[in-house]
C-alpha cells in the first residue's frame, strides 16, 4: 500500500461519519475513552447512555467545540471529500455539511423568527460586504432569495405564520422548531440533535419523532440523536450506540440494544443474583 493510501482517511461504502478511538481528557478526568462507532448515510442514529456517560462531550468533540485529546472523526463532506474533523475550526464545521442544535435552544431573542433562521444561511451568502453595504442589486436579490428560502423552511416546520414575531417571547416548543429550521437552511448532510425532547411532553415528543422522520426523508440527510428519552430513541432510531462512563458499550438495532446485558447493567446497575 502506498503511503498516500495510509494517510488519506477513508470511509466505508455507506458510512457518513466514523468516530475512531475518540478520547477526551480534562486534566486527570477521562470523560471519553477510546470510543469508536460509525453512522451510515440516511440513518437516524441514536447515542444514549446514563447521566454523566459523556454523550454531550462526545458530540462536542465531533463538532469541535472541544478539541479531543485523541482520535479521529471522519466525515463525508458536502463536497464529497472524506475529512478528519479534528483540528478544524468550529465555525468551519457547518461548511462541511454538519450542523447541530443546542439543548438550551440558543436563539437571538431580539431577532424575529425569520431572521433567526436566516442566521443558519450565513455561509451561503455570496455577495461581498461592499455590495451589501451599498445594497447593490446583486445583494438585494440574494437577500430576497434567502428570505424566501427561510420562509419555506419555517413553513416546513409549520410556523411560517409567525415569521416576523420576535424569538424572545415565544414558547419553548416554538423556539425548538425555529432552531430546527435554522439547521435546515444550509441543506446539511448530518444533523446532530442535542436532547431535542428535553422539556417536551408526550404529545410534543410524538410530533418531534414525526418531524425528525420528515426531515430525514425530505432533506435526504442523516440524523444523530443524542437523547435521554428512551421511547423517542427506541421509536425512531435505526441504530443506537450506547456508552457509559465515556466508554463504548454496544452499537446495534434498538431491539438488540434493549436486550443487551451491558446496557441494562449500565442503566439499572448490577443484576441481582
Amino acid at each position: 500500500m502506498s503511503e498516500q493510501a495510509i494517510l488519506t482517511p477513508s470511509l466505508n461504502e455507506n458510512e457518513i461519519l466514523r468516530v475512531e478511538n475518540l478520547s477526551m481528557h480534562f486534566g486527570g478526568l477521562k470523560a471519553v475513552e477510546k470510543l469508536s462507532f460509525s453512522i451510515n448515510e440516511h440513518e437516524i442514529f441514536g447515542l444514549i447512555g446514563p447521566n454523566g456517560a459523556g454523550k454531550t462531550t462526545v458530540f462536542n468533540c465531533i463538532t469541535q467545540f472541544y478539541k479531543p485529546s485523541e482520535g479521529r472523526v471522519l466525515f463525508l463532506t458536502k463536497q464529497g471529500l472524506t475529512e478528519n474533523l479534528v483540528g478544524q475550526k468550529v465555525h468551519n464545521i457547518i461548511r462541511k455539511g454538519l450542523v447541530r442544535t443546542f439543548q438550551n435552544v440558543e436563539l437571538v431573542s431580539e431577532l424575529s423568527l425569520l431572521d433567526n433562521v436566516l442566521v443558519g444561511g450565513h455561509i451561503d451568502f455570496k455577495s461581498s460586504g461592499f455590495s451589501q453595504a451599498l445594497r447593490l442589486p446583486k445583494a438585494r436579490k440574494e437577500e430576497k432569495a434567502m428570505r424566501e428560502k427561510a420562509e419555506r423552511v419555517l413553513n416546513f416546520m409549520g410556523i411560517d405564520h409567525m415569521k416576523d414575531a420576535l424569538a424572545g417571547g415565544q414558547p419553548y416548543g416554538v423556539r425548538k422548531k425555529v432552531e430546527m429550521a435554522r439547521t435546515l437552511m444550509c441543506e446539511p448532510k448530518l444533523i446532530i440533535l442535542d436532547e431535542p425532547a428535553a422539556g417536551l411532553n408526550d404529545v410534543e415528543t410524538q410530533q418531534l419523532a414525526e418531524t425528525i422522520r420528515e426531515v430525514r426523508d425530505t432533506y435526504n440527510c442523516t440524523i444523530l440523536l443524542v437523547e435521554h428519552d428512551m421511547r423517542l430513541v427506541m421509536g425512531i432510531c435505526d441504530r443506537i450506540c450506547a456508552i457509559s462512563f465515556g466508554k463504548f458499550l454496544a452499537c446495534d438495532t434498538p431491539e438488540r440494544i434493549q436486550r443487551n446485558s451491558l446496557v441494562q447493567e449500565a442503566y439499572l446497575g448490577e443484576k441481582e443474583g
Binding site: T63, K89, V90, I93, E106, V108, D115, V119, G120, Q132
Partner: protein, 341 residues
C-alpha cells in the same frame, strides 16, 4: 380604501425618512442666519452630528456585537490630525484627507483587533483603554505632526477643488455625511453582517455552529467602529478648524458610549437622540439654568446617572420612549373606541 397621504408615503419608506431627517436638520444654518435661533446652535448641533457619526460606529460594536471600546476618542483624534495634516501640511485635496483619515486608523484598528479580539471580549475594553492612552500621549509628543499641545489648525473643506465652503455650508455637508452614514448603518445592520453580529452577541456558540467566525466578525465590527470614529474626527477638524490633543481623552470616549447607551442600542435614530441628550442638551439647556448651570461636571453626572438608569430600568434607551408612547396611545385609543361602541 383610503389613499396614503404623501407624508405617510414618505415616512413609510426608510430611505426617504432618512433624507427628510437630513433636510430638516440642514435647515439650521438658515434659521441661525435669519436670527430665529442663536448662532451657538450651529456649532452645538454640528458637534451633535459629529458625535452621532462616531456613536453610530460604536453602536455597531456595542449594540450589535456586545463589545466595549474605550478608544473611540483616540481614533477620532487620529482622524482629525491625519486630515488636518494631509490637507494642511501636505496641501492635498480635502477628499484625500478624508480618505487617509479613515483608512489609516482602520488599518491600525484591525491590528489592535487582531491582538485583543482573540480573547474575552472584555479585554478589548482594557486594550482600547491602553491604546487611547498611547494615542493621547502621542498627540502631545509628536509635535512636528500634531503641533503638540498648542494644537493644529485646519480649514473649511473645499469640495472637488472648486467649492470653498463656509461654516453654514460645511454644516450642510455634515448633514449629508450623517444621512449617508445612517443609510450605510441601516444596510449593514439589517443584512448578513447585522445578523451575524447579533448572533455573536446572543450566543457565541450558536453563531459558531452556524459558521460565523467570531474573530472575523469582531474584527469587522471593530474596524467599522474605528472607521466611523476617525471619519467623525476628520469632520471635526474641518468644522471646528482646530485640533487640540487634550480633547481626545477618556471622558470623550465615555460621552460617546453614553450616547449609544442612552439613545438606544441598535437604534439609528436613537443614536442621534442620544447625542442630543448627552451633548446638546447640557450646552443648550442645562448651562443656561442659573446657578446649576455654572456647576462644573454637571453634564458628566447627568450622563453617568442616565447611563445607569437606562441599563437598569430601561434597556431600550430613550428611542424606545417613542414606541412605548405610541403603544400607550394606541391602547388608550382602543379603550375609547370600545367605550363609544
Amino acid at each position: 380604501m383610503k389613499q396614503d397621504s404623501i407624508i405617510t408615503k414618505i415616512t413609510k419608506n426608510t430611505y426617504l425618512r432618512f433624507v427628510l431627517f437630513g433636510l430638516i436638520i440642514s435647515m439650521i444654518p438658515v434659521l441661525t442666519g435669519g436670527g430665529i435661533l442663536k448662532t451657538s446652535w450651529l456649532g452645538i448641533i454640528g458637534g451633535t452630528i459629529i458625535y452621532t457619526i462616531a456613536a453610530l460606529g460604536l453602536n455597531l460594536l456595542l449594540g450589535y456585537s456586545g463589545l466595549i471600546s474605550l478608544g473611540t476618542a483616540g481614533f477620532m483624534g487620529l482622524g482629525a490630525y491625519i486630515s488636518a495634516y494631509v490637507t494642511g501640511n501636505l496641501g492635498l485635496p480635502w477628499e484625500v484627507g478624508i480618505l487617509a483619515a479613515v483608512i489609516i486608523p482602520v488599518i491600525f484598528g484591525i491590528l489592535i483587533g487582531l491582538a485583543s479580539l482573540r480573547m474575552e471580549g472584555l479585554y478589548l475594553g482594557i486594550v482600547t483603554l491602553c491604546v487611547a492612552e498611547v494615542l493621547r500621549k502621542t498627540f502631545d509628543e509628536l509635535e512636528p505632526l500634531t503641533g503638540g499641545f498648542s494644537g493644529k489648525s485646519a480649514e473649511y473643506p473645499t469640495l472637488l477643488g472648486i467649492f470653498k465652503l463656509n461654516q453654514g455650508t460645511t454644516f450642510v455637508l455634515l448633514c449629508v455625511v450623517l444621512v449617508l452614514m445612517m443609510i450605510l448603518t441601516y444596510h449593514l445592520a439589517n443584512g448578513q453582517l447585522g445578523r451575524a453580529l447579533n448572533a455573536m452577541r446572543g450566543s457565541n456558540v450558536a453563531a459558531q455552529a452556524m459558521g460565523v467566525s467570531l474573530l472575523k466578525y469582531r474584527l469587522i465590527a471593530f474596524a467599522l467602529a474605528t472607521g466611523y470614529a476617525s471619519l467623525a474626527g476628520a469632520l471635526y477638524a474641518h468644522f471646528v478648524k482646530f485640533v487640540y490633543p487634550s480633547t481626545w481623552n477618556l471622558p470623550l470616549s465615555l460621552v460617546i458610549l453614553a450616547i449609544v447607551v442612552i439613545g438606544g442600542l441598535r437604534s439609528i435614530y436613537g443614536t442621534f437622540i442620544g447625542a442630543l441628550i448627552v451633548y446638546a442638551l447640557p450646552d443648550l439647556v442645562l448651562k443656561r439654568i442659573p446657578i446649576i448651570g455654572d456647576i462644573n461636571g454637571l453634564s458628566y453626572v447627568f450622563s453617568g446617572v442616565l447611563i445607569i438608569l437606562v441599563v437598569l430600568f430601561y434597556p431600550g434607551g430613550c428611542v424606545k420612549v417613542f414606541s412605548d408612547v405610541k403603544l400607550l396611545l394606541q391602547k388608550l385609543f382602543k379603550r375609547k373606541v370600545k367605550k363609544n361602541v
